[in-house]
């Protein structure tokens, strides 16, 4: 559980033309259960929608999902847009089936970290892993 003093606000969404709604629903449930304030912008969210939602809600982090393989195209430039909007320091996480085809995960991860994401998750990651990472990144919990 997040400590009492600060409830983190997360913007959650599925980027691009992606309509995978099941995982989005589960993530909303899991992050909410874990004590976060979740701003869920749902599926088919544009980069602008992520940035606007983060600015409007003064969010601590942006969580991007992409399940359909176009993640590489869709995510490019998101960090730059955040900088333009004056929230260049916001933590950004990305996860899912990020690329077309079976590719070496380390390569894929490096590509997304270079794009400006703080962490990237492969297919099959359980929500708890991201929850633990976020708590750790905000100094709220040691990872066991």
């Amino acid at each position: 559980m997040v400590e009492e003093k600060k409830q983190l606000t997360l913007v959650l969404g599925v980027i691009g033309a992606d309509v995978h709604a099941v995982g989005n629903r589960i993530l909303e449930y899991a992050f909410t259960e874990a004590g976060f304030k979740v701003v869920n912008i749902g599926v088919m969210a544009s980069q602008e929608e992520f940035i606007n939602a983060a600015v409007e809600t003064n969010a601590d982090a942006i969580l991007v999902s992409s399940l359909y393989g176009h993640g590489e195209i869709d995510c490019r430039g998101l960090r730059e847009k955040a900088i333009e909007a004056g929230i260049g320091d916001i933590k950004m996480y990305v996860g899912g089936n990020l690329v077309v085809g079976k590719q070496d995960w380390d390569d894929v991860k490096q590509r997304f970290l270079k794009m400006g994401f703080d962490r990237a998750y492969p297919p099959g990651t359980m929500p708890q892993e991201a929850i633990d990472d976020i708590l750790e990144d905000f100094g709220l919990k040691q990872k066991c």
């Binding site: 691009g16 033309a17 992606d18 309509v19 995978h20 709604a21 099941v22 629903r25 589960i26 449930y29 899991a30 749902g42 599926v43 088919m44 399940l67 359909y68 393989g69 176009h70 590489e72 195209i73 089936n97 690329v99 077309v100 085809g101 079976k102 297919p123 099959g124 359980m126």
Partner: protein, 483 residues
């Protein structure tokens, strides 16, 4: 113009058609007379509807993969590989997600980048951008029929180009390609746009060219109770038939419980026939498609083969006309062509081993068939009441009222109130009925069966049970167990 389930007036169709083919440069390439002439000279081996009808008569199940990449040459190579190395009986051309949203500029960028980096940056074949000649190049390079598979709420331009381009089957429908595939598209609009597609197919049919149409069965692919997907499939079959479509394949996505799955395919075929007859569409050739497991897959390829093979076995025992095949890379996203062919080979091995076997009638199977039929009739009959006898109007109003409700759908035009969960045998039941017009008798069956599971697991049915079920297959189970 009011929405109604009525055959589109031809002049009106032609008027809309001008807008459609002018919406992107390649649209101009599609010419009706030329399309019909091209289709007419295609050899019999490339005709989807004929191959399905023959399989139905022989009582066998055909295997069809999903596949599509950004560039024409690579796409042809991929499809050929799936026939030569996989033994695919039917081919797909899966369309990329940008095209599905009519974002042809982004699709174009994806094509260019694919050329530059030397690998497909798109998750499918952008048929609209490639245009008519490329479609014909694909079709002519094949030895088996090719279907367009996508997820496009407004698929009118795609239909014009691909049908004139020689594809002989077209997946989708005004509900099944909207509710699970879009967030903001009004049902009224997508149904209307799909009436256009069906009218186009009906036109080809009038010219003696039979194009197969397939409402997308699995919807969101996650814990969808059979009666929900059956209702959608039957509504779309009725809408298609009214526009003159004569070859219709109704579909269903595997839930995982053998009895429920076999009952689903049987009841689907019987119910669709029943409603088509009731509305006077007597001359439709109806076939069925069974989708292998559409939910989360195990990461491990051997385990994935287990899931794939079990789907193939169920399809064969249910005697579906075709089965849509998954791949051992499913958990990793778009598969390599090798993995895709491997999935087909495993599937065909099982289909062949079981082709002389059927699931015999049992008390449990008969009860499940009756339950699905009673549920589907409840939904459809209330839908027709809401539409004052018109199935198009009824569909829009039924979704508004939550009379039909698809679990986990992204669309805001879907009520999103029902909550499915598995019972202790792994069959998909309902935990929350939302506004579904089920009798108390039906509801009691669901409550009892989920209740039994709760008892066995020592917990009250809740959303956590649903989450556990969604993750279950990835963890090697069907019914999600408490952690």
């Amino acid at each position: 113009m009011q929405l109604a389930n009525k055959k589109l007036d031809w002049d009106q169709f032609l008027q809309i058609r001008q807008e459609v083919i002018n919406s992107w440069p390649t649209g101009q390439e599609a010419d009706l007379a030329d399309g019909v002439a091209y289709q007419a000279q295609l050899p019999a081996k490339l005709r989807f509807a004929e191959k399905l009808e023959q399989a139905k008569q022989e009582g066998i199940t055909l295997a069809q993969p999903r596949a599509g990449v950004a560039l024409v040459h690579e796409h042809i190579e991929l499809l050929r590989y799936l026939v030569d190395e996989g033994g695919a009986d039917l081919l797909p051309t899966t369309i990329d997600s940008y095209t599905r949203q009519n974002r042809y500029n982004e699709a174009q960028a994806g094509i260019e980048e694919s050329r530059t980096v030397g690998r497909s940056m798109l998750n499918g074949f952008p048929a609209v951008n490639h245009g008519l000649a490329a479609c014909r190049q694909v079709v002519e390079a094949m030895s088996v029929p090719v279907q367009v598979r996508h997820g496009t709420p407004d698929a009118r331009l795609l239909a014009e180009i691909t049908l004139a381009g020689g594809f002989t089957a077209y997946e989708g429908g005004g509900i099944s390609y909207n509710i699970p595939y879009a967030k903001d598209v009004p049902l009224e609009r997508s149904i209307r746009d799909w009436q256009y597609v069906d009218r186009l197919v009906g036109y080809y049919e009038e010219q003696g060219i039979s194009i197969n149409r397939e409402p997308f069965g699995p919807l969101t692919g996650t814990l969808v109770p059979p009666s929900i997907s059956h209702s959608v499939a039957i509504v779309e079959a009725l809408l298609a038939a009214e526009q003159g479509v004569r070859s219709i394949t109704v579909g269903y996505g595997q839930c995982g419980n053998l009895i429920q799955d076999v009952a689903a395919i049987r009841s689907l075929e019987e119910l669709a026939e029943e409603y088509l007859n009731r509305f006077g569409y007597q001359d439709v050739v109806l076939t069925t498609v069974f989708h292998q497991w559409m939910g989360g897959f195990p990461q491990d390829e051997s385990k994935a083969f287990g899931v794939i093979s079990w789907g193939a076995a169920t399809a064969a025992l249910a005697k579906a006309t075709k089965v849509i095949v998954k791949t051992p890379h499913e958990a990793m996203g778009v598969p390599t062509k090798e993995a895709n062919a491997a999935g087909i080979r495993a599937t065909k091995q099982v289909l062949n081993m079981l082709k002389d076997q059927t699931m015999p009638e049992t008390k449990e199977l008969a009860a499940e068939v009756e339950l699905i039929k009673a549920e589907t009739r409840s939904i459809l009959d209330r839908l027709l009441e809401f539409g004052e006898g018109d199935v198009a109007v009824g569909a829009v109003r039924a979704f508004q009222a939550g009379i039909i409700d698809v679990p986990f759908a992204p669309s805001r035009y879907n009520a999103g109130k029902i909550l499915p969960a598995r019972d202790y045998r792994g069959a998909v039941r309902l935990l929350d009925f939302g506004n579904l017009p089920f009798s108390e008798e039906i509801k009691d069956v669901h409550r009892e069966k989920i209740g039994q599971r709760g008892k066995l697991e020592g917990r009250d049915p809740s959303f956590q049970m649903v989450i556990d079920d969604i993750y279950a297959i990835g963890k090697g189970m069907l019914v999600g167990k408490p952690r």
